[in-house]
Amino acid sequence: MRLTVWTYDGPPHVGAMRVVTAMRGVHYVLHAPQGDTYADLLFTMIERRDRRPPVTYTTFKASDLGADTAALFKETARAAYERFRPQAMIVSPSCTGELIQDDPGGLAKALDLPVPVIPLHLNSYQRKENWGAAETFHALVRGCCRGRTYEPKPAGARPTANILGPAALGFRHRDDQVEVRRLLGLLGIDVAVTAPWEASPADLARLPEADFNVVLYPEVADTAAKWLSRTFRQPFTRTIPIGLNATRDFLREAAELAGVDPAPALAAVEAEARMPWYSASVDSTYLTGKRVFIFGDATHAIAAARVASEELGFEVCGIGTYGREFARDVRAAAERLSLEALITDDMLEVEEAIAAARPELVLGTQMERHIAKRLGLPCAVISAPVHVQDHPARFAPQMGIEGANVIFDTWVHPLMMGLEEHLLTMFRDDPEFHDEAAPSHLGPAAPAPVAEDTADAALAWAADAEQELKKIPFFVRGKARRNTERFAADHGLSTITIETLYDAKAHFGR
């Protein structure tokens, strides 16, 4: 048993729902008790979808367990087919369904429906949401491409690519694919199929026709892309175009796969992107070296680390993911930053790590927003799981040129602005314009008290040193406290005096 307060990933069948809900013409029959129907509201409320997910639940009860739940499944599956007439169906048990061992796949096969019925094996007691999405997408692609064989592309045709990965309930999937389609357009590459987003089973069957695949979200599309690569010799892109450097890399990678010249597209990036100027303009100087803690799915965490350190000039002081499937990649990214990656799906562990790192900005999921709020830290959201507010009405991609603009605004917004920091530094005792005031552009709010516990119980702060510490503006006070205590510990001091404070400052620098 694993004690859990909040979860990052839902169960694997929710991943399956994210795939089928994004698609058209697929129906999912889930062998599950009635409580599992809550999952519908993820899509209708958090993502504000205007249709029910294409899912039918058998909603068996305790009284059915003694009777024939297998018959209930067959009856439900047949009725669902009759009502929705999908091009393909998927079937699986939810976690409770697994326990009663009814074999939905076999039962559905026995119905002999006139469309492909694809059984999923989701291992609910081992696997999680993203794995479920990848497995479902893979199963659907395999199922729909059955019988297709590798055919060499005719020479001289305009290059084409599929966009793989965008699913329902993803973080900005709706808008990312629009921006990536634009990037491919800049290269003169046509998009053959985008999937699962609004793709039908017939569209999936056309996947092998494209020259290569663009994998936007490895969490969803990696397994399928690899199968397509093995089966139809379709290469796929590995760069996630989040941030302008990655966007440039992506353009080069896609151009190479398509055999086109990336130069015009790269020139368009330089001409159109606003983020480099916003980041270079002098008001952004104060962003330099701000310590950020990053946590999210692997794709967004790795991308955020690169954007933060290369394009915004932040210092990444912590990085982690809840996505164990891609732990190796996150560890590698951490190593490049001389950090140790935090691989966990225990939100309390993440909270501890953030509290210990005392960052000046947290980039995370909705869960890290909880944590940052409690610790009194600024935070921006970079990855699912997210709030209804992170499915905005406006165009808000993370990828490509406009994605970089969006990232600049979003990550800088929670911070105190440059000149304001200095005014605060100078006059922080002023009764009207004081230290506890929130950044002036944020709401009618004062920051929650920053957790100011001394980490090491063996250390004591002299009263005047504590007083002197309070003269340091709150947005760097945590760091000053941490550095001073580390300095004292390293030097075997048990009491921290004003001198210790300034010795530590001289030692560590600002």
Binding site: R2, P11, D50, Y57, T59, E129
Partner: protein, 443 residues
């Protein structure tokens, strides 16, 4: 009784000769399971903690249904079953002890810990009642450990609260005194209003279950008269009867009419004179009448369709029909307890269709065919129906909001008028935009 016993699934109908016909349906249900009640129970009982023994789905349900909006660390958690837990049950008990020890070490302020059963824990038959006894022995007097089931194979939505409260009943101290006990979670503000009203009638010692501190349970005994503030508490009522209490029959305190009848039933049972009651409730009753008048203008003559959700559907439909003049097309309820609904059903207008259970697709067909002016349904259905042009009221709000009693009768009405007002506002404006351009620039 174990915490997993539930009320008799089909008690004989009592005292209600001319009940309306009931459409009993079987098919896909689209209703929360009983775990969901923890969303309000963990806020209402401030010294309690709820530990669900279940799957990742249970944990995900909890945070998706409302959790991500609550920023403080919640007073609930899930012990997620993993592959190895499914193999050996003895190990599962050891695991549970370990998890509870860790939890209580972290939260020593917890005075009542509920172990909450789920679909998987029920199917693999983990005996949480026995585990609770074992853990109580270990953690009392600091922490009392109880168990109940919120599993979706046994309970729907609000039945989780019923099972939870029922598990508290055996812990209540005994008394011989005569007094009133109101059962059902109420917003604190509403609880205060009812307490003030009963006090005005001389019933100063009216008790509430659950109390704000779960550890401080009210007493119960043969002198106890139980007034149900919520209709879904059959198991709790039965458990209180087992302790000698008398459960009163009354409509539920929704709307001016329901509130008056409910207050009277409680006060009269304790011997308060009708005149005394009349005098005590007069100002609130007058206010409710005044406040409801404008809502009635907006609702009268409009039709309403209830999808099953919280078992509040019948009392709310009664209020909308009798006080607001709405036409009831279909009133769905996940579960119909005829005895506790008798007083309500007697008040329903003729010709209403009641439905119990659900086949959600067929029910949607009926709603689409009827095109009601307002559809009351869960969050999974609301936006899709809005997209089809039907105005909806999301039903879970009716469980969270202060809607009981005189002072909130108009707030209750307003929950139904607001979607209609909004649709009218937005539609009107769009029609308006066929006017000529606004004179924005001039001089």
């Amino acid at each position: 009784m174990t915490p997993f016993d539930r009320a008799d699934p089909a008690p004989p109908a009592t005292g209600c000769a001319d009940t309306p016909p009931v459409l009993r349906e079987r098919g896909q249900h689209a209703v929360f399971c009983g775990l969901t009640g923890i969303i309000w129970l963990h806020r209402k009982m401030r010294d309690a903690f709820f530990l669900i023994v279940g799957s990742r789905t249970c944990a995900h349900l909890m945070q998706s249904a409302a959790g991500v909006m609550i920023f403080a660390e919640p007073r609930f958690a899930t012990a997620i079953l993993e592959e190895q837990d499914l193999a050996g049950l003895a190990d599962a008990n050891d695991e549970l002890d370990r998890v509870v020890d860790r939890l209580l070490a972290r939260r020593p302020d917890v005075k009542t810990l509920f172990l909450v059963g789920s679909c998987p824990s029920e199917v693999i038959k983990i005996d949480l009642a026995r585990a609770a006894q074992r853990l109580s022995r270990r953690h009392l007097p600091t922490t009392r450990v109880l168990a109940y089931s919120g599993s979706g194979i046994e309970t729907t939505f609000t039945e989780g609260e019923d099972a939870c409260l029922a598990s508290l009943v055996p812990e209540m101290p005994a008394t011989k005194a005569g007094s009133l006990l109101v059962i059902g979670s109420l917003p604190d503000m509403v609880e205060d209003q009812f307490a003030r009203l009963f006090a005005a009638m001389g019933l100063e010692d009216t008790a509430f279950l659950p109390a704000r501190e779960a550890f401080a349970l009210p007493a119960v005994g043969p002198g106890t008269r139980v007034l149900m503030a919520q209709p879904f508490l059959a198991a709790t009522a039965k458990a209180l009867e087992d302790r000698g209490a008398v459960v009163l029959s009354a409509p539920y305190p929704f709307g001016a009419e329901g509130t008056e009848a409910w207050l009277r039933a409680g006060a009269e049972a304790l011997g308060v004179s009708p005149d005394h009651i009349t005098a005590a409730i007069a100002p609130g009753k007058a206010r409710a009448a005044k406040a409801l008048a404008s809502a009635r203008e907006k609702l009268a003559g409009r039709s309403v369709f209830f999808f099953p959700d919280s078992q509040l559907e019948i009392p709310l439909a009664r209020f909308l029909a009798r006080e607001m003049g709405m036409r009831l097309i279909e009133v769905g309820t996940p579960y119909l307890h005829r005895r506790h609904m008798a007083a309500e059903m007697a008040l329903l207008p003729d010709g209403v269709t009641l439905s119990e259970g659900q086949d959600v697709d067929r029910q949607l067909d009926r709603a689409r065919a009827a095109r009601p002016d307002l559809t009351v349904c869960g969050l999974g259905l609301a936006n899709p129906l809005e997209a089809e042009g039907l105005a909806t009221k999301w039903s879970i709000e009716l469980v969270f909001s202060p809607i009981h009693g005189f002072e909130h009768a108009a707030d209750l009405a307003e929950l139904f008028t607001r979607p209609l007002t909004r649709r009218a506002l937005l539609a009107h404006a769009q029609d308006q935009s066929t006017r000529g351009p606004e004179p924005c620039a001039s001089s």
